[in-house]
Symmetry: C2
């Protein structure tokens, strides 16, 4: 079973490394980290990861996965990446994402008519692409499986492990990773966080979010014409 | 503020990448990934990460961090690494670990007289080093801050962020990472998992665990002589 995980500059590394940890514990799985070249890819926090394949020599994926992050913006009109995702998705058993990775899938036209999720701050942008935004941590709609922001990737991957194998396999992995989370604060979702903190975060991200909306609108317009 | 994160072959990458994601969102922080050389380091699941510094050119750490993983075994009698940790710890504000990283700190003599935690399967080995094993997800004892298995690194790092800055800063990071965990199953700790799954995991890991015990006993004996 080939799992292709897309690597690109300024991804949020935990969007990818959370699911990677689960996938790496599945039997008979090959994880392919596919990027435009084999050069190291630097995440938004400065972590450098090495791809295993390029977009051109990656084999057909059984599971296709797209992480999110600030660099998602640049992928919204990147025909090389969008064409790669479309071609891979046509033969993949599952088409998946975490965080703003779902916006990239949407820009490739791969979420039209599906329910999906995204980082809470960008969730509504999915509607531009004929996709129904769904404020759940993990959303499964036929063979589209999407996770919310960043850390949801662990929950997402355990769900997917159970779909691909069975619940017992997923439970074994959960135990091996001691995934018994105990967040020290109740600030993980805008519904539970201090409203002042939610507001401050929205204000601080407003520049990036304006760009994200603009890129999403342009991508949706291109898709409509295509 | 310099945060040194130790990189070594066959670490468990999520032990490091979970906390990295939190640390990278702190202001005025430099994250140093220190390894024996600048060559890529391959984690136990096959992910290749690039160090930023070697053990010899890394600056003094304000926070020293050691992740766990199968490769921890080889560090238990690695004088180059243990000397590095001792020298860094002497000048560090916090000496920290996730998962079996605490066994490496212990082998360096850095947990004697402290309470600490570890991956549930290896927790008791800490007692060999004059350290009090503590079955909590995150343990703070003076300037020693340790996390349990793998995914506990996220809880650990949010605790540490609050200690280093303040709770509001940690809450903002938690919200940005959408850390509102929803494990699909109740299998994250031996106390909650299906006993058959706990037993199966202990049986499957027994070979590695025997080696871990032997390496810990030998390291403790060397430390006693030192």
């Amino acid at each position: 079973m080939n799992i292709i995980m897309l690597l690109y500059p300024r991804l949020t590394q935990l969007d990818l490394t959370g699911p990677f940890e689960v996938f790496a514990r599945l039997p008979d799985v090959t994880i392919i980290l596919a990027a435009k070249s084999l050069d190291p890819v630097t995440d938004s926090g400065g972590l450098r990861l090495l791809p295993t394949h390029t977009l051109t020599n990656a084999p057909q994926a059984d599971i296709l996965f797209v992480p999110g992050g600030p660099g998602q913006l640049d992928l919204m009109d990147d025909t090389e990446v969008l064409d790669f995702l479309r071609a891979q998705a046509a033969g993949a058993g599952y088409v998946t994402s975490v965080c703003t990775g779902s916006l990239v899938l949407a820009a490739a036209g791969l979420l039209k008519g599906y329910r999906a999720t995204c980082h809470w701050m960008s969730l509504e942008q999915l509607a531009l692409f004929g996709c129904t935004p769904c404020d759940d941590r993990v959303v499964v709609d036929r063979n589209r499986v999407t996770g919310g922001g960043v850390t949801s990737g662990i929950d997402f991957a355990l769900h997917l492990a159970a779909l691909l194998f069975n619940q017992e396999r997923a439970e074994r992995i959960q135990l091996s990773m001691e995934y018994d989370p105990a967040p020290p604060f109740s600030s993980g979702h805008p519904n539970s966080a201090d409203p002042a903190i939610v507001e401050a975060m929205r204000a601080r991200a407003s520049g990036l979010q304006e760009k994200r909306w603009a890129a999403a609108r342009a991508a949706a317009a291109r898709l409509g014409k295509g």
